[in-house]
């Protein structure tokens, strides 16, 4: 049943619950009046274009979702403040990557989004991951996405039409090993592992 009383707690619980509850909560945040405008205003005021602003707004939702799922949001501020903080942090990071030094004043962001190491890996090895994901097949991609979103094996079995949770588990393992093999055959990934 749709949640009509969207407090911060309900939104967080929705994202952590996964499935349709997560989607509904994220949609609610995405369409929250004033939130998009706040992010756009910040980016436009700090040297960005409208397209930059929209990209940052969307990236902020991706990061918010990930942080909440991984239990990194500690509830020290409201969710919308946290969201804007993530967007500001993201914009500062991008400006720095573009060689435009931007001072990291506390006013810019009060959210720890992810470690610089994880950020670097995600950016630098994005293509590498994408290439491997592109080769594992539709079924495996769908299964691993559900798995990554913490769906139970029973749910995965139902959604993917496997006969039971054990079969789903075997398939998840098989898909994951396929992903691993594809990564391991890539010299760039091997180098990354070696240097860690």
């Amino acid at each position: 049943m749709a949640n009509t009383n969207w407090t911060d707690e309900a939104l967080i619980a929705g994202i952590q619950d996964g499935g349709s509850a997560r989607e509904e909560a994220l949609k609610r945040i995405y369409l929250l009046p004033g939130l998009r405008e706040a992010v756009h205003r910040h980016v436009l005021d700090h040297g960005g274009s409208r397209q930059d602003a929209q990209d940052i707004f969307q990236e902020a939702l991706v990061l918010l979702d990930r942080n909440i799922r991984e239990g990194r949001f500690e509830g020290r501020s409201t969710l919308s403040t946290y969201f804007v903080a993530i967007a500001k942090w993201r914009w500062v990071t991008i400006r720095r990557q573009q060689g435009r030094y931007t001072d990291l004043a506390p006013a810019h962001y009060d959210a720890e989004v992810e470690s610089p190491e994880a950020e670097a890996i995600r950016t630098e090895y994005r293509e590498l991951f994408q290439e491997a994901l592109g080769q594992i097949g539709d079924r495996c991609r769908q299964l691993l996405q559900l798995y990554q979103l913490d769906h139970s094996m029973e749910e995965i079995a139902e959604r993917m039409q496997y006969s039971n949770a054990d079969v789903a588990k075997k398939e998840a393992y098989r898909c994951r090993m396929r992903f691993r093999e594809l990564l391991e055959t890539n010299p760039a990934f091997a180098a990354l592992l070696k240097n860690m």
Binding site: E23, L26, K27, Y30, L31, Q58, L61, V62, D65, R66, E70, G71, A118, I121, R122, Y125, R126, L128, F129, Q130, A132, L133, R141, L144, Q145, Y147, Q148, L149, D150, E158, R159, M160, Q161, Y173, R176, F179, R180, L183, L192, L193, M196
Partner: protein, 325 residues
């Protein structure tokens, strides 16, 4: 479950923070003593970061879908131009006539030099220029087929398209005696085999028992049966999209175009490309049946299709556009 799988599961649970505290500490202690195991955990961590791309891509697709839904919703909640605009013109004309008559009356009352007999107001009726309708009826020609080929889906994402509509012709220009027979035009372009496999064929996607039964009913022309059969379970199950599509088609066949549009729109917003593009075409035809009232939304949906040459129904939409010129 073999040892490798057990390790795998243990590491996954550790990285997900689901391992009991004591087990997590034990695993960390083991990592300290075995560099190979520590490297394996690190590899898991990296892979999980890579898999986040799947979640990210899915979420970005959803955001575009939400933007699109919101735009379409805003479009449909705007007052119908077909009704409001002529009313505005009538009111404006009435206001001008009222002011003209009032001015005339005042001048007549207060100007002693005014002649007793003035020319009647009707003699100053404004000249109305005849308008050429922008849409003319043309002789129907069979549309070209562009059957969707499973597994041959274009890579461009429909949800990423800019749905900027072309400047629509004013509604009032389309309501003249020369307006086309939209229903007949839609009928020319609607091909059942574009949406469902013909009866007895091996094509199509197998769905649940309920869906397959409903499909049989549809192919037998029992559209009311399809609606009543699908309604209780609609939106659930793994074949939810197929069910919604069949529902939309049955409503279309029943000439319930408004309801059909709603279901087509839901399927179009699903992000599943072949379904979404088929639903967009269905939506365009349902809206065509409701012309000129639904012209703004019709133009928008058509623009979506026509802006994407990879769209499965691009050729058909082009052909329809030609016929509407």
């Amino acid at each position: 479950m073999n040892t490798a799988e057990q390790y795998f599961e243990q590491i996954e649970r550790y990285l997900q923070g689901k391992l009991p505290e004591a087990d997590a500490r034990a695993l960390e202690a083991y990592m300290d003593t075995d560099p190979d195991f520590a490297a394996l955990v690190q590899q898991h961590r990296l892979e999980r970061q890579g898999l986040e791309l799947l979640v990210e891509r899915d979420l970005l697709g959803k955001m575009q879908q939400w933007d699109r839904e919101t735009e379409i919703f805003q479009q449909t909640t705007q007052p119908s131009r077909g009704v409001v605009r002529p009313m505005r013109w009538v009111m404006r004309a009435a206001a001008i006539l009222l002011i003209a008559f009032g001015t005339y009356w005042i001048l007549e009352q207060y100007d002693p030099a005014s002649p007793e007999t003035n020319a009647p107001i009707t003699s100053v009726k404004p000249e109305i220029k005849p308008r050429v309708p922008t849409v003319r009826r043309s002789k129907p020609t069979p549309p070209r087929q562009a059957a969707p080929a499973p597994g041959n889906e274009p890579t461009s994402d429909i949800a990423q398209q800019d749905p900027t509509p072309s400047n629509p012709a004013p509604i009032e220009e389309m309501t003249g005696a020369n307006a086309p027979d939209y229903a007949a035009l839609a009928n020319d372009f609607f091909r059942e085999q574009d949406f469902v496999p013909p009866k007895g064929s091996k094509g199509g996607q197998a769905g649940s028992a309920a869906y397959n039964q409903a499909l049989d009913n549809f192919q037998d022309g029992k559209y009311n049966d399809v609606v009543s059969k699908l309604k209780p379970t609609l939106g659930s199950g793994t074949d939810a999209l197929q069910q919604k599509e069949l529902m939309a088609l049955s409503l279309y066949k029943n000439k319930q175009f408004d309801s059909a549009t709603t279901y087509f729109r839901e399927v179009a917003a699903s992000g599943k490309q072949s379904y979404a593009q088929r639903a967009e075409w269905g939506m365009a035809l349902a809206l065509l049946n409701q012309m000129p009232t639904k012209k703004p939304l019709f133009d928008r949906v058509m623009a979506n299709i026509l802006n994407n040459p990879q769209h499965l129904y691009y050729e058909k939409a082009k052909s329809l556009e030609e016929r509407l010129k």
